[in-house]
């Protein structure tokens, strides 16, 4: 089956992971997505470690490879008039452009919505930035850590109460901004079917961060309480990571029919857990060290996969704290066919995560191509589609346009 978005053409001019990931979400559903990179250096992510094989190389950055699946790639200097002209020609037939320039800069580059939509009224322009297109922070510098800080995540969500704020790994605020952008694009596509008009979507990474922890604004506005990090401190049954024979696990009190300690006492064969002092959440927190000393040695007798199998059979809910290697080797994901193999000339074939959903039993993730090499599709797109001659392409290269 061709991808759901296979009739769409997407151009990506994203200098940041959020924009790249947003375009990837569209590309993974079959949209013909062209990544436009600055000549010579390309996307900064190409140069950020870690590198596959540990060799620094623009086609070996794991982040670049992971965030640019199913895209074609060209190089073009949109800072030069001739480059802008070529980009403008591509933009005329584009359905979606994803960009992440600082808000003030797009006008000078002719990449603002007014200019682009005049030539192509059906265009959907998605701007994914840290603080949005307007407001007092519009010109602020950002990155994932700043978004976690200013979005309230750092102060209140991950770390320990007695320690400085600490956040989540792996640029999750960039990703959540990107996911919101993809939802917005779909809404705009439905609207365009009615009106024949595109739109300008303004995604803010800071706001995406605020939107993720619902235990932030809501408790404050309802109770005046300012939520503080440390939710897993001393929380043996509902937050801490506890060692097993070959890894770690996090328990929950879910699936226990309202009698969590009886259920776990039975499962772990540890009658001490039914002591009344552990009956309430407050009691468990107050006596957490004692509780830990009862639970931890029992859990340490289990291997992760056995623990998962047996708790599942009892209806108990746990989470194995899996290493990325354990995820890659997961028998569950293997049986579901979640990973998609993409063969890259520089790294060889590797397993890439799917989209997270299956449609009529099929993995919804396209397996068209791995991330593009720098300028890989220059000839195919600039000559094959825009009609430049190879000679003209040579001139562009000499002028450092491609």
């Amino acid at each position: 089956m061709p991808g759901i978005l296979s009739e769409l053409r997407v151009l990506e001019l994203a200098l940041r992971p959020s924009g790249a990931y947003c375009a990837k979400l569209l590309a993974d559903q079959g949209a013909d997505t062209i990544k436009v990179e600055p000549p010579g250096w390309g996307d900064q992510a190409r140069h950020e470690p870690p590198f596959i094989g540990d060799v620094p190389h623009p086609d070996r950055s794991s982040t670049f490879l992971a965030f640019n699946t199913n895209k074609r790639g060209i190089t073009l200097d949109v800072g030069q008039a001739a480059g802008r002209d070529l980009f403008g020609r591509l933009a005329q037939s584009a359905d979606v452009i994803v960009e992440s320039y600082p808000p003030g800069q797009t006008g000078g580059l002719g990449l603002d919505y007014e200019t682009l939509s005049e030539a192509n009224p059906r265009l959907i322009l998605v701007s994914v930035t840290y603080f949005g297109q307007d407001g007092p922070y519009a010109d602020y510098q950002g990155d994932d850590l700043v978004a976690q800080a200013m979005g309230g995540y750092l102060y209140a969500v991950t770390g320990s109460a007695a320690m400085p704020p600490m956040g989540t790994a792996l640029q999750q605020m960039e990703i959540t901004a990107a996911r919101n952008g993809a939802v917005a694009v779909m809404g705009a596509l439905f609207r365009r079917d009615e009106t024949e008009r595109g739109t300008h979507i303004d995604v803010s990474t800071m706001e995406a961060a605020v939107s993720t922890p619902s235990g932030l604004i809501h408790p404050y506005t309802y109770t005046g309480r300012n939520p503080h990090r440390g939710g897993s401190d001393g929380n043996v049954m509902d937050g801490m990571h506890l060692p097993t024979l070959d890894g770690e696990v996090t328990l929950t009190t879910a699936g226990t029919g309202g009698r969590p300690m009886q259920a776990w006492a039975e499962f772990l064969d540890e009658p001490g857990l039914t002591d009344p002092k552990f009956a309430t959440r407050g009691g468990r927190m107050e006596h957490w060290e004692e509780l830990h000393s009862l639970v931890a040695p029992r859990l340490a007798q289990w291997t992760n996969l056995d623990l998962m199998r047996k708790t599942m059979a009892r209806g108990l809910v746990i989470g194995l704290v899996q290493t990325p290697t354990q995820v890659v080797e997961s028998p569950h994901l293997e049986e579901r066919g979640f990973f998609v193999e993409l063969d890259h000339p520089e790294t060889g074939p590797m397993q890439y995560p799917g989209s997270g959903f299956f449609i009529d039993g099929d993995n919804a993730m396209a397996a068209d191509r791995p991330a593009p090499q720098l300028g890989e599709h220059n000839v195919e797109i600039l000559c094959g589609e825009l009609g430049l001659s190879l000679r003209e392409l040579g001139l562009l290269r000499a002028a450092r346009l491609i």
Partner: protein, 419 residues
């Protein structure tokens, strides 16, 4: 909103609890779909979860819009009906005839037990799209297991990589993954509707929390295949320094500062008045700054300790330095940027006026073509009558019978315990 929502005419029936799926169907409601949340009178945990206004559950506690109620029912309609009752089931199937989408987040098997599996619904309505949002999916050895957002952070690899530098792994979030999954639910449903426009046929979507989580940690998944391990670094970075959280002069108030290049380091040095320590050659290059980052963090933290967090962040940003205060919920509610962008929505629920206006998080994007507002937070069974008369074609006396016979409800059962 004068203009009709872009999904006007699309109807979603959703059997949903807790957070991830309600967050996802909420996007469709915001875009104008008629999202009917079918609530069970026997599972009112979401409406009990709070927090309640000023910490106290009121008389009509089920409509006071605790966390899960507000995020789960906003812009939706509520039908409180026991679908395990034969007549409830009959009504539900009649509604399916008028629906475009049916979603659930039960464990696999439950929808089949109700007679609501995809094949059964599709035989009534071939254009129906069904989506089940589960922990691990309908196939595979873990399909019967349940989850919480936190257990998915763990299982997908995210929590293993999260933790203070040199310390143990920690849960990455409390419910970040619910939101990530909710976003993916919205995306998948909109894709399915888009596809149906082309084919005219419904489809089945099997969406999982685990796999959505893994899709968000792609770099680590690739690294693991080639033997690359990531150390936990807290707020520090693989190659940038300074890149961390620093104390300020106020108690438990912090600032993050990020330096990505020599130029940015020079800029930060200037901002500090070029103290002797910062001129030390060991901080001159990106590599040497990273190698000496613990000392650098210590010294920089001594400098930031002299200032107010919000003022310092604002001063540094004015100089083009990447920095931000660690905002609290109180800061966010009063933040001039979020206010000017109208990100925060104040809402007073006319159903429970005693709750008074409260502030809610909006959507993190603006699209003038698809404006979104908060127009309603659905009370329990608030829309029973209109749904049953207009969509299921029931008469007033039939509806009264359903109420009298304990099939539909607009309040908890009399013996329901208070939160």
């Amino acid at each position: 909103m004068s203009e009709k929502g872009v999904l006007d005419g699309i109807r979603v029936l959703t059997l949903e609890q807790v957070h991830a799926l309600p967050w996802g169907t909420g996007f469709l409601a915001d875009l104008g779909a008629d999202v009917i949340r079918v609530e069970s009178p026997d599972h009112l945990q979401d409406r009990k979860a709070g927090p309640f206004p000023d910490g106290k559950a009121g008389e009509e506690w089920w409509n006071e819009a605790g966390n899960l109620v507000y995020y789960g029912t906003r812009n939706k309609r509520s039908l409180c009906m026991d679908v395990t009752h034969a007549r409830g089931k009959e009504v539900f199937l009649r509604l399916v005839e008028t629906a475009d989408i049916v979603t659930d987040n039960f464990r696999p098997g439950t929808m089949q037990r109700f007679g609501f599996d995809h094949d059964s619904l599709s035989s009534i309505n071939p254009r129906i799209i069904t989506l089940s949002s589960t922990a691990y999916g309908y196939t595979g050895p873990w399909r019967r297991a349940g989850s919480r957002a936190r257990t998915v952070d763990a299982a997908c690899g995210l929590s293993y990589l999260t933790g203070y530098e040199g310390g143990p792994s920690m849960r990455a979030s409390n419910n970040y993954m619910d939101h990530s999954v909710g976003n993916n639910v919205a995306y998948a449903l909109l894709l399915a509707l888009y596809q149906r426009k082309k084919t005219g046929r419904g489809m089945r979507v099997d969406l999982t929390m685990l796999e959505t989580g893994v899709s968000a940690v792609g770099p680590a998944i690739l690294e693991a295949q080639r033997g690359i391990t990531r150390d936990r670094l807290g707020c520090a970075h693989w190659w940038k320094a300074p890149h961390n959280v620093y104390p300020t002069r106020n108690d438990d108030r912090w600032i993050v500062i990020v330096v990505s290049s020599d130029e940015e380091w020079e800029n930060l040095k200037d901002a500090m008045g070029s103290p002797d320590w910062a001129r030390d050659t060991k901080f001159d290059t990106a590599l040497s700054r990273w190698q000496n980052r613990h000392e650098l963090d210590q010294l920089l933290g001594e400098w930031t300790s002299q200032d107010d967090d919000l003022e310092l962040a604002s001063d540094l940003q004015a100089r083009g330095i990447t920095a931000g205060a660690c905002m609290t919920a109180r800061d966010l509610v009063n933040d001039p940027h979020l206010q000017e962008r109208e990100y925060l929505w104040e809402f007073a629920n006319p159903q429970v006026p005693e709750v008074r206006p409260r502030v809610f998080a909006g959507r993190p994007y603006r699209d003038a073509g698809n404006p979104m507002t908060l127009s309603k937070v659905a009370g329990l069974g608030q829309d029973n009558e209109t749904i049953l008369s207009e969509l299921a074609g029931l008469s007033q006396s039939e509806i009264s019978d359903l109420q009298a016979d304990g099939v539909i409800f607009d309040a908890p059962r009399p013996d329901e315990s208070r939160p």
